[in-house]
């Protein structure tokens, strides 16, 4: 089976600081991988490399069959969902308008937005501007977008941090949904997934720039 992610001796140095060192990682369809590590260990950097948002200093990155050293942008718009601690919504638009905007840009059907907002419990605040929305609402809206876009690869950067139990269970549902349809999930966190979270199949630790089994 073709893997969704292949990292081969990937290293990232920013300035004079080595962040990642000889990272090897293979993620197959249906995999759920958790990477844990302390703050500043390079977890977000690792996800940004996988998301093709950061070019590695060394090594080879193949995402969904495309060697990103040849074309970093080849996979854009083809199923790479990245949820980070900083929402990427436009503050001047409402939650619903943001999702309609995303849908129009990506060629998804904007009529699916209402259903997605309902699925994440935002149907009553859909017309609230992002600037007036809480962090949890923004995060739910980003999950709603993942439900619309149905990415093959979901990347979660401290995605459960600061969320209530309901929103955390939505993250778990997104994980199950993605894995069950043959996608994969890579999540990073500074702590082990707690009891009740959708337990990942593989837990790795990022330490001194290297990935080690946990």
């Amino acid at each position: 089976m073709t893997s969704l992610i292949e990292l081969d001796s990937v290293g990232v140095t920013i300035g004079n600081n080595p962040i990642l060192d000889a990272i090897d990682l293979v993620v197959a369809p249906g995999d759920s991988v958790a990477v844990i590590g302390p703050n500043g260990s390079g977890k977000t950097t690792l996800l940004r490399v996988i998301a093709t948002l950061l070019r590695p200093t060394s090594g080879r990155v193949v995402v969904m069959g495309t060697d990103t050293s040849e074309d970093m942008g080849a996979n854009r718009g083809q199923g790479n969902g990245f949820i980070t601690h900083e929402p990427g919504l436009l503050a001047e638009l409402t939650l619903e308008e943001n999702l309609v905007h995303f849908s129009r840009l990506s060629g998804e059907d904007p009529s699916a937005v209402a259903q997605a907002l309902y699925a994440v419990g935002l149907e009553n605040v859909a017309s609230r501007r992002v600037s007036d929305a809480s962090f949890g609402m923004k995060r739910r809206a980003e999950i709603a977008w993942q439900l619309i876009a149905k990415p093959r690869l979901v990347l979660l950067d401290e995605a459960r941090s600061g969320l209530d139990e309901g929103a955390r269970s939505l993250i778990d549902s997104l994980t199950v949904l993605t894995v069950s349809r043959g996608g994969a999930v890579v999540s990073v966190s500074h702590e082990l997934p707690s009891q009740g979270d959708e337990w990942p199949q593989t837990v790795l630790e990022l330490s001194n720039g290297r990935l080690i089994p946990r």
């Binding site: 990427g88 001047e92 638009l93």
Partner: protein
Amino acid sequence: MSLRAQAREVARIDLVVERRVGDTLRIVLPFAVVALMIFSLATPSAITDLGDIGIAVFWGVAVLYGMQIALRISASETARRREVMSLIGLDPAARFLGRSFASAMMLMMFMTVLLVFTVVLFDPDLPDAWLPTMLLVIVLAASGLAMLSTLAGEVAGGLRNKSALASLIVAPLVVPVVVGASQTLESMNQDNGILLWILLLITTDLVLLTAGIGLSRPLEEASR
């Protein structure tokens, strides 16, 4: 999703945001009008006839304040927002086209209102049939300034102090736009042909359009 449809959506959202935030109408335009008033009040009438400098002052104020309008969108865009747009599959060329179009619309409106104040405050010497020519020049100059500012925003995107850097990039490169725009009415006043200046503006716009479309993706990748 076609390039055209994406560009249209980018422009639509930029204009919606501008309508809600209202920076152009509520902040930049009033300050630009105040700048015109200061020029008109501070110019010694014994030395200079206000009517002689009206159009030159208009272009100076229009370009300097217009840069702030055109750069505002790129400057306020966060790195995370750019990443989200990239992951969604927004073609950088579509972003350039859509953003330039939205900025050009705002600049045209801004320059037109500013022109009215210029005529009132300076009573400039204007040749016959100046208005259609002036409106054409405003369209061409606004398009050029919008594309140049959008391109500068792309170059500076992701960098610290990007607002200041983008302004520094725009300032010297906007010279052909300023020269073409300011010399058109001057040539009309002197009964000289204006074709050369109109062609300068059109050529500048075409060069910026080509550069913007061609460089948008490499610039985005270079910022990674």
